[in-house]
């Protein structure tokens, strides 16, 4: 590995990780919100 490659990989790699992590977090948040709505609706239906 050439000396500059480490710095380039660390920069581009972390950017890719940060973008992917945000996309995964967005999907998880939406799924969590929908699950919560369903749970609350089921609880009300039981009452």
């Amino acid at each position: 590995m050439k000396p500059h490659e480490f710095y380039l990989w660390m920069s581009y790699g972390m950017t890719a990780v940060a973008l992917l992590a945000e996309i995964v977090a967005l999907r998880m948040r939406r799924a969590r919100s929908l699950k919560r709505i369903e749970e609350e609706r089921d609880l009300e239906a039981q009452d």
Binding site: K2, P3, H4, E5, Y7, L8, M10, S11, Y12, M14, T15, A18, L19, E22, I23, A25, L26, R29, R30, S33, L34, R36, I37, E38, E40, R41
Partner: protein, 242 residues
């Protein structure tokens, strides 16, 4: 033509609108990102002084621009929410903050890995770098304050106020290289022109556009989740989860 602002500012309408727009913005971000990275990593020539390591610029500069621009837009939404007491503006401000924090982190991280081979150090308490770090803490403060109250509307107001106060940091970041004797170099791209090679400039601008489109897509996706959380007891949201 008169735009029906109140119609689009209604959470149910905006929820559907954002659902249509977000995938288009993500697709645009992917296309522009691919074009920008090809231009920056393949077409742009090697820098005469820094060699190949300068190619960090194609992420570092666009991420730094987005970190400041997102904060500005977030503060504008905060101001609209405080002035007109609009729910959607406050939700948009909340939706932008994590993406802004992510780009600020990326700007600091890539700057650090560019600083080591060029300056000989990962970090210095330089005016530009320190004020960018303050921006990251402002984003963290905004997110923490917005979520610190049981009543989300109180959290919206407190966070909007913090966002407006924090605006003072943006000119400090931008002009820090002119106001103080810093290690960080001055701007290569100005409104009056650029001193960069045309391929380097295009690579940077394309990635910046890609990050911009990504930020819109991400904030629209997040605001949909926020709308679901806030409006979960309404009939229209109950209908969605079936």
């Amino acid at each position: 033509m008169k735009i029906p602002w109140f119609y689009f500012a209604s959470p149910p309408t905006f929820y559907r609108l954002a659902g249509w727009m977000a995938p288009a913005f993500f697709a645009l971000a992917a296309l522009l990102g691919a074009a920008g990275l090809y231009t920056g990593l393949v077409v742009a020539p090697t820098d005469a002084q820094q060699g190949e390591v300068y190619r960090i610029i194609f992420i570092h500069v666009p991420a730094s621009w987005m970190s400041m621009f997102i904060y500005f837009v977030m503060a504008c939404y905060g101001a609209v929410s405080l002035t007109f007491n609009t729910r959607l503006a406050a939700m948009m401000a909340r939706a932008l903050a994590p993406t802004g924090a992510m780009f600020t982190f990326v700007a600091l991280w890539t700057g650090s890995f560019w600083g080591r081979p060029t300056w000989g150090t990962y970090w210095v308490w330089d005016a530009r770098i320190t004020s960018e770090l303050v921006l990251l803490f402002l984003y963290f403060g905004f997110i923490a304050l917005a979520n610190a109250f049981e009543d989300p509307r109180r959290g919206d107001r407190a966070a909007a106020l913090l966002a407006l106060i924090g605006l003072v940091n943006l000119p400090i970041i931008y002009f820090s290289v002119l106001w103080w004797n810093t290690l960080h170099q001055g701007s290569s791209v100005k409104f009056t022109g650029s001193t960069m090679h045309v391929a380097m400039l295009w690579g940077m601008l394309l990635v910046a556009l890609s990050f911009w489109m990504y930020s819109i897509g991400a904030s629209l996706t997040r605001v949909r989740a926020i709308i679901l959380e806030r409006e979960r007891r309404t009939h229209w949201v109950r209908g969605l989860a079936t």
